[in-house]
């Protein structure tokens, strides 16, 4: 039997230590899986660390993969904090990529910074617009946002596939010889490719810098502004927020739109920093939107933590691409992400509760039943506890 006691005054160090421990546990579980499937976990982990950090250019590659993950991680963080489960980051990312590509192509003759600014704005706007659909449906019609945002991921994926593979759209390259053989997107002029900041041999992509800036920004908004206060109140209980005079519908729409905007930026940075064209296949294989949920959970739904967890999962993704082959088959990255997320959600309880393992069932003591136990069943509120998994008290 397990008995739970609520902790009070949990320190920051402890809040950080629990997800870190969860990550280590996840690595151990993955090691068992690797052994079971006939791989050597030690050499696999060694080659992953080498590919993602220590090899030349390894950390730069990790940063490239971490860039969309930090942004989609923020997308999930912002929404999940309000207990609005926007799992449409994936589709919002696709739409952001679509919007940014359109802007990049349309502004092609302009100076570089105008193109890049246009791509940032268009990507953010397209992501936000796509998130507006589930937001409005949830806020004003009460439609479950989990289902609608997820369904729209598939729709967005099919839409960008249609643009490149089955239509003569603005995004598709129909002029070059290669484009006639195999459908590809039009490439954005070189002036529109997003710059990197070189720091002692490591290339920091512009998208990553934007992501870090927005993480700090979101953290400040959550802690120091009225909007953040409303989110924190509503996160505890939607009913309490409504009772306290917070217009919940509007809050849901604002949060979802910001969330979609962040995912849209992730799409824009993928186009600007990596692909330079609309690549439906690549975007759909990367699954950065879903991985953002893992990033957010590993960060304990804290925007600043997203930078660190984004780097960790970026390292896994980067190693996955570089090592892809027989020793590191497709699917291992998603498996690792899933196990990490499982470990993190399962240990979240240790942050706010002290778990006591008792040998005897404390709920049914062997001694004489007290009056309370033979009496009428207590009312539900005193007996049922919804465990707050998100660390809302911060």
């Amino acid at each position: 039997m397990i008995r739970l006691e609520r902790r009070s005054g949990v320190s920051l160090a402890f809040r950080v230590a629990v997800p870190c421990a969860a990550f280590v546990v996840a690595l151990l579980v993955i090691a068992i899986l690797l052994v079971a499937s006939g791989s050597n976990p030690v050499s696999t982990y060694q080659s992953m660390v080498s590919a993602a950090f220590t090899s030349s250019g390894g950390f730069s590659a990790t940063l490239v993969n971490a860039t969309p993950l930090v942004l989609t991680g923020l997308c999930a963080t912002v929404a999940f904090r309000l207990e609005i489960y926007n799992i449409g980051g994936e589709g919002q990312l696709y739409m952001g990529a679509m919007g940014a590509t359109a802007a990049g192509l349309a502004l092609g003759h302009m100076p570089g910074f105008v193109i890049i600014l246009g791509m940032v704005l268009a990507g953010a706007a397209a992501g936000a617009a796509w998130a507006l659909i589930p937001a409005l449906l949830r806020a004003y019609l009460g439609t479950n946002e989990i289902m609608t945002s997820l369904m729209l991921n598939y729709v967005a994926g099919l839409f960008i596939t249609y643009l490149i593979f089955d239509s003569a759209s603005y995004w598709r390259n129909l002029s070059s010889a290669a484009g006639k053989v195999y459908p590809t997107g039009k490439t954005i002029p070189l002036a529109g490719s997003w710059p990197n900041l070189g720091v002692s041999g490591v290339n920091i992509p512009l998208g990553f810098i934007i992501g870090v800036g927005l993480a700090l920004c979101s953290s400040w908004v959550l802690r120091r502004t009225t909007l953040g206060y409303r989110i924190r109140v509503a996160a505890g209980s939607h009913a309490a927020a409504r009772y306290g005079g917070i217009r919940l519908s509007r809050l849901i729409v604002i949060v979802m739109v910001v969330s979609g905007l962040l995912a849209g930026l992730a799409g824009a940075s993928e186009v600007g920093g990596v692909a330079h064209l609309l690549d439906p296949t690549g975007l759909q294989q990367a699954q950065y939107g879903y991985a953002g949920i893992v990033v957010a959970a590993l960060a304990g739904f804290e925007p600043v933590g997203v930078i660190v967890s984004g780097l960790l999962l970026g390292a896994i993704a980067s190693a996955g691409t570089q090592l892809a082959g027989i020793a590191f088959p497709v699917g291992l990255v998603g498996t690792m992400e899933g196990i990490v997320l499982f470990a993190v959600v399962s240990t979240a309880i240790f942050v706010n509760y002290r778990v006591r393992w008792t040998t005897k069932s404390t709920s049914a003591p062997a001694g004489a039943p007290s009056a309370e136990e033979v009496g009428p069943p207590p009312t539900a509120p005193s007996n049922t506890v919804t465990v707050p998994v998100l660390n809302r008290e911060i």
Binding site: F80, L141, M151, F159, V330, G331, G334, S363, T379, V389
Partner: protein
């Protein structure tokens, strides 16, 4: 000609509705006990991969191999459901996030494709696949014959399970207890019903059904393996449970309706209708959104049979 088209559409609806129905029945049992498992898609994919793997490796009479494959698919998905149950019911994890973890773990970039790579499943045609069973040779009756009496064993299984689940929920005391656990776990607990035990067993049974639903794809519908072959069917099944108002009979109707929408593209393309394939592929997802919007806006504020304790952890506080 028109008659032929109608039959083809109905048959397509039943074929593609069957995995939705099976997975939906499993989720319905979970949710009636108050557990929201968003991991169906992941469990279906792992079930599909394991089932296909078993059917490729084993040799023997087809029916035996397929039986083993379906059971293996159910077993593999049950293990994943057990993982979810431990996280949510013992460690009281947030059910939404844990369900997403299950989908990411099993998903098209996860365990299912890892297993497929390890078992070298891609690209090979299935060695065994389900044949239609012409029950009592009634399959040749026009219209009714092919629809009711000439289906694969999995379709008959799904019908039997729909009836079984309906009887279980409404006509057995276990079903009554389960519904009590989903509506008011505290009251059920006070009545001496073990909330944890009911939730564990039904979550795992839900996993078994999701795994079998996945194997419908790799053993019957497609008979081969490609990554992410369920294409969001697990999520559509989740939506179906909502707008079937958590009732097995309505779930059957809804599944076939959506099966029809899914198969519409294939059926019409075979008959020379020339529209972008993406449009047809998007129809089930758009249909799910529309159906959810209609249910949520028309019946707003009413309870509609949603289990009251759905998605909430329960434990006694001492």
């Amino acid at each position: 000609m028109h008659d032929g088209l109608a039959i083809a559409l109905i048959l397509g609806g039943i074929s593609y509705g069957t995995p939705l129905l099976l997975a939906g029945l499993g989720e319905l049992l979970n949710e009636r006990g108050g557990v929201l498992n968003l991991g169906i898609e992941g469990m279906m994919l792992v079930g599909a991969a394991c089932g296909f793997w078993i059917s490729q490796v084993l040799s023997g009479p087809s029916w035996l191999v397929l039986l083993a494959a379906v059971l293996g698919a159910g077993g593999a998905a049950a293990c994943m459901a057990a993982l979810f149950a431990v996280a949510c019911l013992t460690f009281r994890a947030n059910q939404v996030v844990a369900g997403l973890a299950l989908t990411i773990l099993g998903g098209s970039a996860g365990l299912s494709s890892y297993l497929a790579a390890k078992g070298n499943l891609g690209g090979s045609a299935g060695r065994h696949q389900f044949a239609n069973l012409d029950v009592a040779r009634l399959g040749s009756i026009p219209v009714v014959g092919p629809v009711l009496f000439d289906q694969s064993a999995l379709v008959y299984l799904s019908w039997a399970l729909t009836i079984a689940v309906a009887l279980y929920l409404y006509h057995t005391h276990w079903g009554l207890n389960l519904r009590a656990v989903g509506e008011d776990p505290a009251a059920a607990d006070a009545m001496g019903v073990s909330v944890t035990r009911y939730r564990y067993t039904h979550t795992i049974v839900g996993g078994v059904l999701a795994g079998i639903a996945g194997s419908v794809y790799s053993l019957d519908l497609i008979p081969s393996w490609s990554n992410g072959l369920t294409a969001g069917a697990g999520w559509i099944a989740l939506g179906l449970v909502i707008f079937a108002f958590w009732r097995p009979a309505l779930l059957l109707v809804g599944s076939y309706l959506f099966g029809l929408v899914i198969s519409l593209g294939f059926t019409l393309q075979q008959r020379g209708v020339n529209l972008p394939p993406e449009l047809f592929s998007a129809l089930p997802y758009l249909g799910t959104i529309v159906a959810l919007v209609v249910t949520s806006s028309l019946w707003r504020g009413r309870r509609l049979g949603a289990p009251a304790a759905l998605g909430r952890s329960y434990f006694r506080e001492r």
